[in-house]
Symmetry: C2
Subunit: 300 residues, 2 copies
Amino acid sequence: MNEEYKRILDEDVRLVNEAISRCGELSYSDTPGELVIKAESYSLLAGGKRIRAALCVELNRLFGGRIADCCYDVAACLEYIHAFSLIHDDMPEMDNDPVRRGKPSTHVKFGQNTALLAGDGLSLLPFEIIPKLCENRSIDPERAVRLMGTLASAAGSRGMIMGQALDIHSEGIDCDLDYLIKMSELKTGCLLKASAVFGAILAGASKKEEEAASRYAAGVGLAFQIVDDVLDIIGDEKLLGKPIGSDKRRNKNTFAAVLGIDGAMKLAKKYTDQAVSAIASYEGSELLCQLAQDLMSRNK
Amino acid sequence: MNEEYKRILDEDVRLVNEAISRCGELSYSDTPGELVIKAESYSLLAGGKRIRAALCVELNRLFGGRIADCCYDVAACLEYIHAFSLIHDDMPEMDNDPVRRGKPSTHVKFGQNTALLAGDGLSLLPFEIIPKLCENRSIDPERAVRLMGTLASAAGSRGMIMGQALDIHSEGIDCDLDYLIKMSELKTGCLLKASAVFGAILAGASKKEEEAASRYAAGVGLAFQIVDDVLDIIGDEKLLGKPIGSDKRRNKNTFAAVLGIDGAMKLAKKYTDQAVSAIASYEGSELLCQLAQDLMSRNK
């Protein structure tokens, strides 16, 4: 990615992190009641690429939205939902993963009960924050309602949560490509699409533009998952910051297992091309087109 | 309670149950992906007094709101959040309760992973439904935003979830009355207050009326919890439908343990009086006044 685009994306991430830090709902004292908030904060500040937030900001920019402070506050809401899903996904009854981004998972650090509640708290946080942004007139009510409906449906029982359910169900059985695609579309795709649509809604984009944003994110999401699977086989542990081969050890169904490395990368390219073609005709889409290419050719 | 009031409340509950049944988001097929929705539905239809929904409907009626179908759909949202909290509360890492209302708890019936996801799904469901009611013009956007903000804040990390955190923390230590009151206000009071305020918001009530609704529910909530604690000592197992003495066996901090039966009932009366006095001056408040009295003198 060229230096200018990299600088813009880094600045997006910095400003989203700033929005997370200034979020009053996440400030805590060392009292028993606020331990859950401390756990929420721990999980949020443990790092992460902030891809969802960046999609929101960059699609907003693409469709001519004013990049006000509230755009970062709204973008952060996507990261709250993402963090909620990671906390619950890592728990013993789900993936039972004691480590996340090189640090103890939330339930290891704070105990299972506090982790359960921290995930619950983060799942509700966007619906506390967006109404407050509406109350102080940073967003109008129509837009606030659309943002909340889009987010809840994307994360809910017919979106991300259904993807997690399909993931649980797939353990120990052989899945075909269709199943893997559907699972990935739900588990990560829905929230990524919502992230892009968030940007479009904030910009007051047309329905056609919203759909373009959604198609872009859908392609990026599938390509991202496929590359993840490939890197778990041929990646560099030092660059990735985690051991490779974990999918195979867990006997997980992955795109790489079903299609082989070459077949998987071919499919990743197809989805990346779809993502690019969804937005390429819009002026100023070069950064997002490069982002899609870079996410495919990344090595970490 | 006189027959007419009883009939009105029974009809409220019937119509709320109908709203839950017609909720498209809760209909499911027997596929792996929809097992989570089946679990949500199981938990919702396992019974319950629907006090939260009834508070919403009756406060709406008190403040002159039109009792349209959408009022029951909105009231049902309070029950979704309540069911979410019960599913997660019953899980092994929390209260570890295998039975709820005489039936296997959700995690016993469906497994811990599905129960975790079912709770997550229900926590998001109101924020899917209310925007749809807004989209089909049953509620205006301003009101939809206020409802969602009120609900998320009441349930979130500084509301119901903080109450659950305080409850976890209190295990094995002696709590004083202030701690018990704060815990109860958060764990059950916040959602009850939101339920009453929901009714006021739907009715387009004034701020003063909203506050009266909130004070009423706060008093009812504390009295209700105190009576719960007392019934666990002196209640009739057959009427209650569950074994008594469970609080003592679990060494739980309760109002009855701290104040004794008589002291606890005196405090329940004080809170009931506060509830009644908050709304007694409004025309048509007799049903709600009687409801508060009845919840205090119940034997089940």
